[in-house]
């Protein structure tokens, strides 16, 4: 049956095209699910088109939207669409994508408060422009009734706006006063309220000066500073949340009837059976029920050598299963795992940070009482000089309060932190703490962890030359069938040298022990020393035994992480002491220290020893920067003056560190100290500039010569100088 022919085919076509382009698939009638994907490499217009276009063509996808600022895609889709499949699809067409746990991302709250600040700032900006226009007329000589009219109009505009836009300051000042403390917002609120009230009084009495413009301008500039500060923190927070959301915790639960289901870790209960496949991270604490394998504990203890795991052995969450599938009886899951308990302990131990007073707080401590005393003494002095003229005295006191330029002080720190965190983000460093730059600038001693921080945690065969081609060919043939990291290292080394694998038969992997096969009629084995009956050596090694011949050892060293040598060299060049503290065996630690030129190294350190070492450095009066990734470093990271961890670290570790390295390379660390020193210098300069303005303006106000025009000039000039100075921030030396 043919479709009826339309009188206007083009109209129909346009209609259909618009429908499909705009809305696309409308769903199967059920409720949609929301999927978020992280797109770390998206940066251009083509990426938006590519990602959105190709996602919308997939079955079940209703809409897709890319946010380039957050490097994220939000997708509405039917319930049976698997997030992982979408991520894999995008990665396969060239846009690297990772699934995000939507439960962890709590962006709505920060977005709301940021939008709230922006709205208050917009309203204040609108009011400021209108009042300024009216004020220009007054400054240029409006008199009598005209001046009064202009003052009344200014009052009508600025009073409601100051009351609305100034709320963040009033609230903060109120809470701080209730706690019997003075913060920066107390003089600000006082200046706003006093300036508004005296201006109304002056206007009612046909006075010459009204400070409506000053009050509203102060509100606008201070809100600008606060918005900058808020945005910087919100971006850092959302990036940090994203790192946490990347680890979507899933586990394979084995049911009573032997079937398996994939569930979220939160749903796992004590006593459940969980299967951990080779290559996966153990999601829970528990005892091995069935199966044999080796596990990699390096993130938890710093040991680079894999450990045997068989029935009866206890495993902790965070370890990585290497060779064989394991069936684990859950002893603790979710918040009760040793991993989480460790994180809680660290949160309690985190005291040194709380003791640090930021430069802004130090300045506020000096500034607030000084301003109040100045204004009050100006009031009293003029009351005495003018023999009881309260109106004149209050006018001068208010002029003093306004002209002391709290807006330059309010902008001094946020302008610099915005500039520095943007710069660091571009270099691949995420600033999580607001005072991290200031603390980083004081650092004079750097402590590194070894496994996973200075090294990649990926072994490399280092005694290649000691072996006969025959041994290598057999080892290659055995190693090819395994995904064990040491086996993979042998395969890589042998293939680089062009070795051809020997012909072996009946190869089988014995999980937890090694690989066995038949070669030229004799049994050949590659694996752990005990399994082969060989004597182990004190190195990361695996052993090859051919027939009855004595076993030979293949030894490995850890590859240095990209940029590790440059970072250490740059830090040493800047005159800093560098120490290596590791939980690994002495030989491995010594080797890495020697390769990087670190003289001070300590091996076999337990987590407590690491903390003790950091505390000892602090007792000597040193400011320690700790760089580490393992769970065993977590307490030391919290104890240090400032801490950095790579993105590959466990979540518990990233939580306590001030800065997270987003890229693979360690190189940015070297420059970051210089950058933060430059930033701290700018902050100090900005305080100096504000103080300089005050030195000129305050005496003028005190002798009673400050007009609203002078206040407006001083305020805008100082704010602009401070912002421009922040932009002079220098990068790497």
């Amino acid at each position: 049956l043919a479709a009826p022919i339309s009188a206007c085919p083009a109209c129909d076509a346009a209609h259909i095209a618009e429908d499909t382009a705009g809305k696309g698939y409308r769903g199967n009638g059920q409720e949609a699910q929301r999927i978020m994907l992280s797109l770390p490499t998206a940066y251009c217009a083509a990426c938006i088109v590519g990602v959105e276009g190709s996602l919308q063509q997939l079955p079940g996808v209703r809409s897709a939207r890319v946010n380039l600022t957050l490097k994220r895609a939000t997708i509405e889709a039917d319930h049976d669409v698997e997030p992982q499949e979408l991520a894999d699809f995008l990665t396969s067409i060239g846009y690297e994508a990772y699934e995000l746990d939507t439960g962890v991302l709590s962006t709505t709250a920060t977005e709301k408060s940021s939008r709230d600040l922006l709205m208050r700032m917009g309203v204040a900006g609108f009011g400021m422009m209108n009042v300024m226009l009216l004020s220009v007329a007054v400054w240029s000589g409006a008199t009598d009734a005209t001046r009064d009219l202009f003052h009344w109009v200014s009052a009508a505009i600025s009073l409601p706006i100051v009351a609305f836009s100034g709320q963040p300051f009033f609230k903060s000042a109120f809470t701080s006063l209730r706690a019997r403390r003075l913060n920066m917002d107390v003089p600000i609120s006082l200046a706003l309220i006093l300036a508004s009230s005296i201006s109304i009084y002056e206007t009612a009495n046909s006075g010459h000066h009204a400070y409506f413009d000053a009050a509203i301008m102060l509100t606008f500039f201070l809100l600008a500073g606060r918005y900058l500060d808020h945005r910087t923190r919100a971006v850092a927070r959302s990036a940090a949340e994203e790192l946490a959301a990347l680890e979507v915790p899933r586990a394979h639960r084995v049911l009573a009837d032997g079937k398996e289901e994939v569930v979220s870790v939160n749903e796992i209960a004590v006593g459940d059976l969980v299967r951990v496949v080779p290559g996966a991270r153990v999601p829970v604490d528990g005892m091995v029920e069935e199966g044999e394998s080796e596990v990699d504990r390096s993130l938890l203890t710093g040991e680079s050598l894999p450990v045997f795991a068989g029935p009866g052995e206890m495993l902790s969450a965070g370890e990585v299963n290497l060779t064989g599938p394991l069936l684990i009886r859950v002893a603790a899951a979710g918040k009760d795992t040793s991993l989480h308990r460790m994180a809680d302990l660290v949160a309690m131990a985190e005291t040194s940070r709380n003791r640090y007073t930021s430069l802004a707080d130090q300045a506020a401590k000096l500034y607030s009482p000084l301003v109040h005393v100045l204004a009050l003494s100006a009031f009293l002095a003029w009351l005495w000089i003018s023999a009881g003229d309260v109106r004149l005295s209050i006018n001068i006191a208010v002029a003093t309060l306004i002209i002391t330029c709290p807006c330059a002080l309010g902008l001094a720190v946020p302008a610099v932190t915005t500039a520095v965190s943007g710069k660091m983000f571009r270099q691949g460093m995420l600033l999580k703490s607001a005072t991290a730059t200031e603390r980083l600038a004081q650092v004079d001693h750097v402590v590194f962890d070894k496994t996973g921080t200075l090294t990649e945690g990926k072994p490399r065969l280092d005694n290649y030359g000691d072996h006969t081609p025959e041994d290598l060919a057999v080892a290659l043939a055995l190693a090819q069938g395994s995904s064990h990291p040491l086996a993979q290292a042998i395969v890589n080394a042998a293939q680089d040298e062009g070795i051809r694998a020997a012909r072996v038969s009946d190869a089988k992997e014995v999980p937890g022990h090694g690989i066995e096969a038949i070669w030229s009629g004799q049994t050949v084995r590659l694996g752990r020393a005990e399994w082969l009956g060989a004597k182990g050596i004190d190195r990361t090694a695996t052993y090859l035994k051919i027939g009855k011949r004595p076993a030979v050892a293949f030894t490995f060293t850890d590859n240095l992480r990209e940029g590790a040598a440059e970072a250490v060299a740059s830090l040493k060049k800047q005159g800093m002491k560098v120490t290596l503290i590791s939980g690994d065996a002495p030989a491995a630690v010594q080797d890495v220290a020697f390769r990087l030129g670190i003289e001070d190294y300590r091996a076999s350190m337990l987590p407590d020893d690491k903390v003790a070492a950091v505390e000892a450095f602090r007792a000597e009066g040193r400011h320690v920067l700790m760089v580490g990734d393992g769970l065993n470093d977590t307490a030391a990271l919290a104890a240090a003056h400032v801490s950095i961890s790579p993105a590959t670290a466990l979540e518990a570790t990233r939580v306590v560190s001030d800065i997270v390295l987003l890229g693979r390379s360690l190189e940015p660390i070297g420059g970051s100290v210089a950058l933060s020193r430059s930033a701290t210098k700018r902050i100090r300069e900005n305080f100096g500039i504000s103080a300089g303005y005050n030195l000129i303006a305050v005496p003028i106000a005190l002798v009673g010569l400050a007009t609203p025009l002078a206040a407006a000039l001083a305020m805008s000039l100082s704010s602009i100088t401070v912002s421009l100075n922040a932009l002079r921030l220098k990068g790497t030396p």
Binding site: E18, A21, G22, C44, A45, I48, V49, S63, R65, V66, N67, L68, T69, L70, T74, E111, R115, L118, M119, G122, V123, F126, M129, N130, L133, L134, T146, L149, V153, I157
Partner: protein, 53 residues
């Protein structure tokens, strides 16, 4: 000087239009993805408004 009687309300009204426009941009989430929007405007394809939620 009498001209002020209607010029001042007019100027405030015009400013009010600007303020209303600003509220509208806030409400339609136009500050959420400044970087993406800078690129989107250069595309040929017709683009939907930011998602409302």
């Amino acid at each position: 000087v009498n001209v002020l009687v209607y010029l001042i309300p007019i100027s405030i009204l015009l400013g009010g239009f600007g303020l209303a426009a600003f509220f509208w941009t806030l409400k339609t989430q136009q500050y959420d993805d400044p970087e993406g929007d800078a690129h989107r405007i250069l595309r040929d394809e017709w683009d939907d408004a930011p998602p409302k939620d």
